[in-house]
């Protein structure tokens, strides 16, 4: 087992652990804005997970999904913020 395989395994474990921690905040989060921030961070972690997964499984197909995921995370965050601003005005 060389250094690269070890590093990829450790990265998969660390990123999976941080996804679990963010899920805790997503469940606990007192306000709805906390949950939106946690969802944004979850999709960002999914991008990093896709990058590590492409090295581990030796396929590069899923990097395109990373681009779409980054776009969707930004758009959903802005849409949620717009909805929250509309709710405050009423």
């Amino acid at each position: 087992m060389n250094f690269m395989e070890w590093a990829v395994q450790a990265s998969v474990i660390v990123i999976g652990l941080s996804i679990l921690i963010i899920f805790l905040r997503l469940i606990v989060g007192p306000s709805i804005e906390d949950r939106i921030v946690a969802l944004d961070l979850l999709s960002a972690n999914a991008i990093a997970f896709i990058a590590v997964y492409s090295i581990q499984k030796n396929t590069t197909t899923f990097l395109d999904a990373g681009i779409i995921l980054a776009l969707l995370a930004f758009l959903s965050t802005v849409a949620f913020a717009f909805y929250l601003g509309r709710r405050e005005k009423q």
Binding site: A38, L41, A48, A73, F80
Partner: protein, 118 residues
């Protein structure tokens, strides 16, 4: 040599991602949580994608990964600003030890009860 560089970039990036996850769990209020997560996770994802570029050394992969990095660096501050503004206007409470509130000072210049001492 290439593998050592790429592997250490992956490890550093995943450590920064873990730091941002610990930050979102442990920080006291929403604004400090956002301050921890946006910066640390953007840096972590950038490092992981740089490690991916170095591992593959292929033009198609590099262009996709650089597109993701540039997009994240452009949109993460904008998204954090939008969510933070919506949260402040929606009266999400600040931490009780917060002593600088420049937004409130700009909106109500006469109200100096909780602004910082000059």
């Amino acid at each position: 040599m290439k593998e050592i560089l790429s592997g250490s970039l992956l490890l550093m990036g995943s450590v920064f991602i873990l730091l941002s996850a610990v930050g979102i769990l442990r920080m006291p209020d929403l604004y400090t949580r956002m301050s921890a997560t946006t910066k640390a996770s953007t840096l972590g994802i950038g490092l992981v994608l740089l490690g991916t570029i170095l591992f593959w050394q292929d033009f198609g992969i590099a262009s996709r990964a650089i597109a993701i990095i540039v997009f994240l660096f452009l949109t993460a501050p904008v998204a954090a600003h939008v969510i933070g503004r919506a949260a402040y206007l929606g009266k999400v409470p600040l931490w009780e030890k917060t002593n600088i509130d420049e937004f409130k000072k700009r909106e109500h210049p006469s109200d100096s009860s909780s602004s910082m001492p000059e």
